[in-house]
Amino acid sequence: MTTATATMGRRRLGRLEGAALRGVIVRELVNFSSFWRSSTFSSTVDPTIYLLAFGFGFGSLVSTVAGYSYIDFVATGIVATTVLFSGAFPAMYGTFVKYTFQHTYDAILAAPVDTEELVTGEALWIAARTGVYGCVPMLVGIVFGLDPSWGMLLVPLIAALAGYGWACFGIFIAAKSNKIESFSYWQSGLLTPMFLVAGTFFPLTKLPEWAQVLGNINPLYHCVELVRSAVFGTWGLVDLWHLGFLVGFALISWRLAIRFMERKLIL
């Protein structure tokens, strides 16, 4: 029997194993059961406030934007903020807290889990949450007159894909930051401008050319455009470009997150 276990044990465990990913996700799930209320509150109330404030505030000044009623335009654009609030921010703060204060990663990496699996599992979990929360502004929008459509069923998938990329990017930011104060630079210098220049509240086409160029390299913009195509059924070839951009962003952020977490966790 000993020989049997020994031989079995010699089998080299691979990379990105399902068992390891499941372990990481189960840990997140069980922990989520103790704080889902606050998390769901901030992830749904924040975008809803933006939606109502801009929808009614601006909506009273402008009736249509880029061919849509303003409330429709904002209800579909606001998914960009959800992706940040449910994807990037929880990833940044969660990773930082687990690393610095809770020493969680020491415990997980002492089990048969590698950094690659740790990062991937946590990002997948955040992506799933973002997919769900991403629908909230749309549902609120329906209450205020957005027409339901079958394409809306794709929105959770789009939000989850964007959420995965931003979760990985958030983990990358946390891995690069030795102090939580450093987050301010990322938030004010990168994330806030990005969520404004994403065609969220106003169309990119009305902005100066340099801002349009910046918008085109902004993953949030591509996310918003895909959501609008899905909800309004305005698909075109350009959506392949939007989708490709989001996939590329997710892949690059994923590898960056793993590389920098390894530098931090494996000495």
């Binding site: 020491d106 415990a107 048969p112």
Partner: protein, 297 residues
């Protein structure tokens, strides 16, 4: 060829910048034994412990854990060993049972055996009554027992304990010693880093004393005491100038001495020499101070 051991390290070096935290360490934990890793702060104990789970990658040397080569096969090794960390890393918002439940998944306990593993380890750690308590409601001793339970879910063959009783009351410490001792008697191989010398003397079959990243002595506690400190020590009390005098005299006669703060302990005199002072049995602490130096760096 070497005899198979649960842990086998040869010439392990780990540098951080220009400082070698571990500097050519040899370490052996034979199967079924409890080995203590002793050393002052900064001797390289923690770095060594981290290297065994591949959270530190050695620059040089040979590392084998449960027959697996590190770092390449470290994941397999981790699947078969349990780790009790020095820093509490429990999920404090979860209950005792939830903490264990999460780690049955991380340690890949098959679904049908998960509940059984939780019950078994709750029993070992004497936490059956507290299964519904949140971790934040537990005492320090209970949290440490939960950390041990968590490390035993997958019935590991090897257990790494990093300073298992640091910061605990003496009563709680004794309770943990009993727990560790019973694990060893069940055949679990144990490597325990500690700077409580008494702990090592009581629990360990052999100890490795580290200083500046190297092993400076290896052996059974009693053998090390006989070899380095002799059978009896004489504690001489007096004014600082008297102590310096005794120290000088003893060294002239080829004995070793050790300052204890209020007295000077003369070692290896084995009771003769007619020194005025309190006679006592030598202990591992004498050896530790002799070998790792009296100065605090």
């Amino acid at each position: 060829m070497h005899m198979p051991s649960a842990i086998h390290l040869r010439g392990v070096v780990k540098r951080f910048g220009s400082i070698a935290a571990v500097d050519g360490l040899d370490l052996e934990v034979p199967y079924g034994t409890c080995v203590g890793l002793l050393g002052p702060n900064g001797a390289g104990k923690s770095t060594t412990m981290k290297a065994l789970t591949a959270q530190v990658i050695a620059d040089e040397g040979e590392l084998e854990v449960l027959g697996y080569r590190l770092p390449g096969d470290s994941k397999q090794a981790r699947a078969e060993m349990g780790v009790v960390p020095q820093l509490d890393n429990l999920d404090t918002a979860l209950t005792v049972e939830q903490n264990l439940q999460v780690f049955t998944h991380l340690y890949r306990v098959p679904a049908v055996r998960r509940q059984e593993a939780i019950e078994r380890t709750l029993g070992i750690a004497n936490l059956l009554e507290r299964r519904w308590s949140k971790v934040e409601e537990l005492s320090g001793g209970m949290r440490r027992r939960l950390l041990i339970a968590r490390a035993l879910l997958h019935e590991p063959r090897l257990l790494l304990l990093d300073e298992p009783t640091v910061g605990l009351d003496p009563q709680v410490r004794q309770e943990l010693w009993a727990l560790i001792d019973s694990l060893r008697s069940q055949g679990v191989s144990i490597l325990m880093s500690t700077h409580y010398i008494e702990e090592a003397e009581r629990l360990c079959d052999t100890v490795t004393i580290m200083s500046h990243g190297k092993a400076v002595a290896v052996g059974a506690p009693q053998a090390l005491i006989r070899e380095h400190a002799g059978s009896e020590a004489v504690e001489v009390y007096g004014s600082p100038s008297r102590l310096s005098e005794v120290e000088f005299e003893a060294r002239e006669r080829g004995w070793r001495t050790r300052r204890t703060g209020t007295s000077i302990a003369v070692l290896r005199s084995n009771g003769d020499g007619g020194l005025e002072g309190d006679r006592r049995v030598t202990n591992l602490e004498d050896v530790f101070v002799l070998l790792t130096g009296e100065e605090i760096e």
